[in-house]
């Protein structure tokens, strides 16, 4: 692989992986509103 292709591949793949991970982590971190999801209700019971 040439250096430009390798750089572009690494930059794009690392960025996409990082952003995907970041947004998913934000989802896991944000508490859902009460009564929004049935599993949360079951846990409360």
């Amino acid at each position: 692989m040439n250096a430009t292709a390798l750089t572009l591949m690494i930059v794009v793949q690392v960025s996409v992986t990082g952003i995907t991970g970041y947004f998913f982590w934000r989802v896991l971190k944000s508490p859902p509103e009460p009564d929004s999801y049935t599993e949360d209700k079951k846990e409360e019971v």
């Binding site: 692989m1 292709a5 947004f23 944000s30 929004s36």
Partner: protein, 556 residues
């Protein structure tokens, strides 16, 4: 009153996101993306693709999530009446018909591909492909889709697997969102695991696959081609159209499935973060995993030259089992199970999403229960899909894919983006996107959603309608400005309507058996069009009946 079952809820936020990501992640992530990248200059494709994702894909996701949640507040779970709530003009609900029609028609042939993956998983386990050369593996597929011949000892094997696949989908749908969510929670992690295994193999293959027959074969050459940027291609409309088209298919926007899933989200719950999280999850699967499997493995054994010539959907079934056979019988079986298994999970999480708009519509409007909704979906898909199974080689499959799986998506997405930004109103729309948001959507997106996204969609639609000869835009514009007119390509929508390509082939054919075959193709593709049109207007009639029912009940 809407049936109580239509007021069901998602079990968990992670389940919702995995189901939405599963809806988006489909066969196209692994098969269409590499094909488009190869056919559009490799590295030339990646930059427009990413730009289109940011200015068209993400905005469309926000538009569809917020339209769905907005409609859900009024008890609507399918696009006809979701669109109806957004404007006083009664015509919009008929545009919403696309959100049911597309899913029925696409599910009909999509389940067929899904059934191939299911069958190929079994064939991989049984070692059917062991010892076969490339031509024999390709021939195996051709035999498989020629229904009369059996590859498995089961008469009508392709039909049997197709029916099994529809039964699996329908049984899961009958369990409602709980079933869909459970499949997403199992299927998505497995898909990621299988994909990661194959991607690591693709990334580490190097030149070890070179043989006397393919001395220049190199996985690096494939990756090099895919990732070398060519700035000059940024001015080529062909590459932009291909990139924008890929964003459509990969995100499953313009189908009505996102609206339907989002309609079950509570009005005060986040959609801004959910949409972007599910969208990026799809991009991870496509850009990271999708780019590291087919391209490096095929280039690693058969060479870049072969890959450029044969890039297409067929590689998945006609070539990959042969390539896996280089890894020895055991690893070939494992890789086969993983490859076709990941395609199966990618497929089923999408086909389940295609069932929910029909079910939501029948539950909301005709008080059908979930089971009745699910089994009626299975029955319609079976009836609509059997012609694609029996007449696969006579163009019916491609006809469904073109009109329902390509043109309808663009038409519907264009209509909904105009409705959302210009008729419902950007101020209301912006408020809707951000309501309950766990992230603040950057203000620049207000401008992008209002202007850039509809313009880009218009560009895609017009570009497909008037696609120039050989997709060569430079020559087409030159001819236009020098008074030589605009020659259309046979794959443009206008020429497709007229079946020009097929008629030219018939006129040029000299072999009587070929002429007979082409006339058969013409007949069956015309019949497929009549069938699809009948289904579309049939759903329009159902929407009209539902509307009259609402008027009678004082709900309109």
């Amino acid at each position: 009153m809407a049936n109580n079952e239509s007021t069901q809820q998602w079990g968990s936020r992670v389940g919702l996101i995995l189901a939405m990501a599963g809806n988006a992640v489909g066969l196209g992530n692994f098969l269409r993306f590499p094909e488009q990248a190869i056919q559009n200059g490799g590295g030339a494709f990646i930059i427009p693709y990413i730009i289109c994702f940011l200015v068209m894909g993400i905005p469309l996701l926000w538009i569809e999530w917020s339209m769905g949640r907005f409609g859900g507040k009024f008890g609507h779970h399918s696009t006809p009446f979701i669109l109806d709530t957004m404007d006083k003009k009664r015509l919009w609900k008929y545009f919403g018909v696309f959100g049911i029609f597309t899913n029925l028609a696409v599910a009909a042939y999509y389940c067929y591909i899904e059934s191939w993956t299911l069958s190929y998983v079994l064939h991989s386990v049984l070692g059917t492909f062991n010892g076969m050369n490339q031509i024999q593996v390709a021939h195996f597929f051709d035999t498989y889709v020629t229904i009369g011949k059996s590859t498995f000892g089961i008469p009508y094997e392709a039909v049997v697997f197709y029916i099994i696949c529809i039964i699996i989908n329908t049984s899961i749908l009958a369990k409602g969102l709980e079933g869909v969510e459970k499949v997403a929670k199992i299927g998505m992690p497995l898909l990621l695991m299988f994909g990661a295994f194959l991607a690591i193999r693709g990334l580490t293959l190097g030149t070890s696959g070179a043989t006397a027959a393919h001395p220049t074969a190199s996985a690096w050459a494939g990756l090099n081609f895919l990732w070398t940027p060519q700035p000059s291609s940024l001015t080529n409309p062909k590459v932009w159209l291909a990139a924008a088209g890929q964003i459509f298919f990969t995100l499953s926007v313009g189908m009505g499935t996102v609206h339907c899933y989002a309609a079950y989200v509570k009005s005060n719950d986040d959609i801004a973060l959910n949409a972007v999280s599910a969208g990026f999850m799809n991009e991870f699967v496509e850009i990271v995993l999708g780019s590291l499997i087919v391209i490096p493995i095929a280039a690693g054994y058969l060479g870049l030259g072969w890959l450029k010539q044969h890039a297409g959907f067929g590689i998945a079934f006609q070539t990959m089992p042969y390539l896996f056979s280089h890894w020895g019988p055991f690893l070939a079986a494992v890789a086969g199970v993983m490859w076709f298994g990941l395609l199966f999970f990618a497929g089923i999480t999408s086909s389940l999403a295609m069932g929910t708009p029909w079910m939501g519509f029948m539950q909301d409007e005709f008080n059908w229960n979930r089971k009745k909704g699910a089994w009626s979906f299975g029955a319609v898909v079976l009836l609509l899909g059997l012609p694609t199974v029996f007449f696969y080689n006579l163009g019916v499959f491609n006809e469904y894919d073109y009109w329902a799986g390509t043109v309808s998506l663009v038409v519907f997405a264009l209509a909904e983006s105009i409705l959302f930004a210009w008729i419902f109103g950007m101020d209301k729309g912006w408020k809707e996107i951000n309501e309950g948001g766990d992230i603040k959507v950057p203000d620049i997106y207000k401008f992008i959603i209002k202007f850039i996204t509809p313009l880009l969609l218009l560009f895609v639609f017009i570009g497909s309608l008037f696609k120039p000869l050989n997709n060569n835009w430079t020559t087409a514009f030159h001819n236009l400005f020098t008074g030589n007119g605009w020659a259309l390509d046979n794959s443009s929508i206008i020429k497709q309507i007229m079946q020009s390509g097929l008629k030219e082939k018939i006129a040029a054919a000299t072999d009587p058996s070929m002429i007979h075959h082409l006339h058969q193709v013409l007949f069956y593709t015309d019949a497929a069009r009549i069938l699809l049109t009948t289904v579309f207007f049939g759903i329009c009639a159902m929407v009209y009946v539902a509307y009259r029912k609402r008027v009678r009940e004082g709900r309109a």
